[in-house]
Symmetry: C2
C-alpha cells in the first residue's frame, strides 16, 4: 500500500509516517519502480501499537526500545512491564508535584481575593505573588 493509504488506515499523516521511518520506528519499506514507498499491511498493526503506547504516555524513544527488542526476535514483555512500572512511578511523582503546586496556587489566589491595591509596592510588582 502507498503512504497515503497507510496514513488513512492508521489515522495519521504521511508526514508522521516519514518522520517515524526517519526516527527508526518504522522499517524502511520497499519501493516501487518509481520510488514510491510500498508498505506491507502489517505496518498498520505496528502503528496501532505505537499509537496505544503514545496514549499511555510513552516517548518515541521508549517505544523504539520495545520495537527494537521485538524486531531482534525476542518478546519485549519484560521490558514493557518495566516501562509501565517506570511510567507509573513517573505519573505518581508528577501528580504529587502538581497537587503541591495546586495547594500553593490556591493559597495565593485566596490571598489575592481581597484585593487592596493601595498596599502594593510598585517595586514588588504584586504582593500577592
Amino acid at each position: 500500500m502507498r503512504i497515503g493509504e497507510l496514513a488513512e488506515a492508521s489515522s495519521t499523516t504521511t508526514k508522521t509516517l516519514r518522520f517515524y521511518e526517519e526516527a527508526g520506528l518504522l522499517p524502511a519499506p520497499n519501493r516501487t519502480a518509481s520510488g514510491y514507498r510500498d508498505y506491507d499491511p502489517d505496518v498498520v498493526a505496528r502503528l496501532n501499537f505505537i499509537r496505544r503506547s503514545r496514549t499511555a504516555g510513552l516517548s518515541l524513544a521508549q517505544i523504539r526500545e520495545v520495537l527494537d527488542i521485538r524486531d531482534s526476535g525476542s518478546a519485549p514483555c519484560q521490558h514493557v512491564h518495566e516501562l509501565l512500572e517506570d511510567r507509573l512511578a513517573g505519573l505518581d511523582r508528577q501528580i504529587a508535584e502538581l497537587q503541591a503546586l495546586r495547594a500553593t496556587v490556591a493559597q495565593l489566589r485566596d490571598a489575592a481575593t481581597s484585593v487592596e491595591p493601595a498596599d502594593c509596592d510598585p517595586v514588588l510588582v504584586c504582593r500577592y505573588l
Copy 2:
C-alpha cells in the same frame, strides 16, 4: 550594578537576564560609558517577582502581562487574581488527566504482570499495550 552582580543577587544567570530583557520582562538598563549594563538595585525585586511567578507555574508571557500592567501605572491585582484562577483551573484539569492516565497505565501494568510471551503475536509487537 553590573549584570554579573545582578545575576548573583537574583540567583540567576547573565544569559537569563539578557534573555528577559529581550523578551520584554526587564526594562533596558542604563549603560556605562563603555556599554556595560548598569542596573538599578530595584530590579532584584522585579526578578524575585518573576521567580515567584515562575514557581507558581506562570509562563513568561503571563508574567509579562502583569509587569506591563504594573509598568503602565496600574495595580495588576485584578489581573493577577484572574491569572491565578485560570492557573488553578488548568492545574485541576491537568491533575484529572494525569489521574485518568495513571488508572489506564496501572491496568496495563497489572495485565502485563503475568507475562506470557507465547501469546504475543509479533505483528502486534506486544499484546499488553
